[in-house]
Amino acid sequence: MNICQYDRLHPAWRTGAMLLCAVLASGCGSQDKSSRVEGGDPERGRLLTQQYQCAACHFIPEVQGTNGDAGPSLQYMGRLSYIAGSIPNQPENMIRFLQNPPAVKPGTLMPALGISEQEARHMAAFMYTLK
């Protein structure tokens, strides 16, 4: 029986079932909002993006400061198919690219900034919120 069909239940059970449904529903919601990157915190990623001053080259609407145009805009990074125009936009690729861009895409303008794997994870999580 579907637990959410609670019309004929005793009021106390009904209240309990409603609460359970609410909890389940909110669980579903938060799963949607959680990041696509395992172990990555988008908010910490946003702060790291600000600290590394990625906006010196990229336009990032959520990051304060300058809006350089040496690199492409990151406004829709989360829904682009490719990173740097040639690498499939998947979390693992994104994390590798952020740590050492020239190693992943030789010839890129983007330098390796000494970003750690964990930092790259947070930053990648943030990138996927840019849609």
């Binding site: 001053q53 809006n67 040496a70 010839g107 890129t108």
Partner: protein
């Protein structure tokens, strides 16, 4: 709270005096305002008592302001006399020139008596009064470090002075306080107060020429710097002042159009407090300064390939 640039967190004698003025005027003004509003409320009551106009006109209208303003004048005259004297007869002088939109800072090396030129950071020893001899090379700027002292204008063709004294070591942010054009808001700097020994070591290091480019990447970066003719506006001591560049410099001293980059990698920030200093921001700045600070004199460099640009940024980052 961030007290990096705050008039409410004085870190020097002058700033403490200005801070005290502020609170005395603010609290005194508030008390008088509340008193007047209370009188107004009393006057607007129904069945108000008649008052004697003589007492209120002469007492509150004349005697009260005369007493308060005279006391304030006497106190502020006495207190402001304690502000550091504007004189160049100090043990240490630093020259600061305001430019659109950055700060050129010059020291004299006590060992060789040669000039050391840097930018956007004023290092001073803690607890000692330091005289800043100031001017501007283009328009009027104004130097203001709220935590240390009042502001003072920098005027082309004139030298003005300011005495700074920081009582505790730290980094204090300063800002241009006179509207000077498009990037006025991005014309910041830092005053870094160090214990005397650290300051001396810092200054001795600044007197050295630039670090040699001893790896392939660094050589590539240095060669790209020269190939791009960056030395037309920037100096890297030990690199741009050897032949054939020394000849060129004697003909026209244009090398001060942009900041001296001899030790650029050791600075906290680039573009006058706009970006944190590392190879990423350096690369972004070299590629397109106009996007970051529209209107700066430095042109964009759209013709560098990725590897060369990264090498150049790495080279500049390495100049510590």
């Amino acid at each position: 709270m961030n007290d990096l640039q705050s008039v409410l967190h004085p870190a020097g004698a002058d700033a403490a005096i200005i801070h005290q003025f502020t609170w005395v005027l603010f609290i005194g003004g508030t008390l008088i305002f509340v008193f007047v509003m209370a009188l107004l409320a009393l006057a607007m009551r129904r069945q108000a008592r008649p008052v004697r106009p003589g007492i209120w006109l002469f007492g509150a209208g004349i005697a009260f302001p005369v007493v308060v303003l005279t006391a304030l004048l006497a106190w502020s005259t006495w207190r402001s006399a304690q502000l550091a004297e504007q004189t160049s007869h100090k043990a240490m002088s630093i020259s600061v020139t305001g430019k659109m939109w950055w700060w050129e800072v010059r020291y004299r090396d006590p060992a060789s008596n040669r000039e050391i030129i840097t930018a956007n950071e004023i290092h001073i020893p803690v607890g000692e009064p330091v005289y800043l001899g100031m001017t501007a090379s283009d328009v009027i700027h104004s130097l203001w470090v709220p935590a240390l002292a009042g502001k003072r204008d920098m005027i082309p063709g004139r030298v003005t002075g300011l005495t700074l004294r920081a009582d505790k070591p730290g980094v204090y942010r300063g800002q241009c306080a006179e509207y000077c054009g498009e990037q006025h808001a991005r014309m910041a700097f830092h005053v870094i107060a160090l214990p005397r020994a650290e300051f001396d070591a810092w200054l001795a290091r600044r007197a050295q020429p630039a670090l040699p480019a001893d790896t392939t990447v660094l050589q590539r970066g240095r060669d790209a710097f020269l190939a791009q003719q960056c030395q037309a506006c920037h100096t890297i001591r030990g690199v741009t002042d050897v032949p054939p560049f020394s000849q060129q410099e004697r003909i026209a001293d244009t090398s001060r159009l942009g900041p001296d980059l001899t030790h650029v990698g050791s600075r906290r920030e680039i573009a006058a407090g706009t970006l944190r200093n590392h190879r990423g921001t350096l690369a972004g700045w070299i590629a397109d300064p106009q996007a970051i600070k529209p209107g700066v004199f430095m042109p964009p460099t759209p013709d560098l390939d990725g590897e060369t640009l990264r090498a150049m940024a790495t080279y500049l980052e390495h100049l510590k």
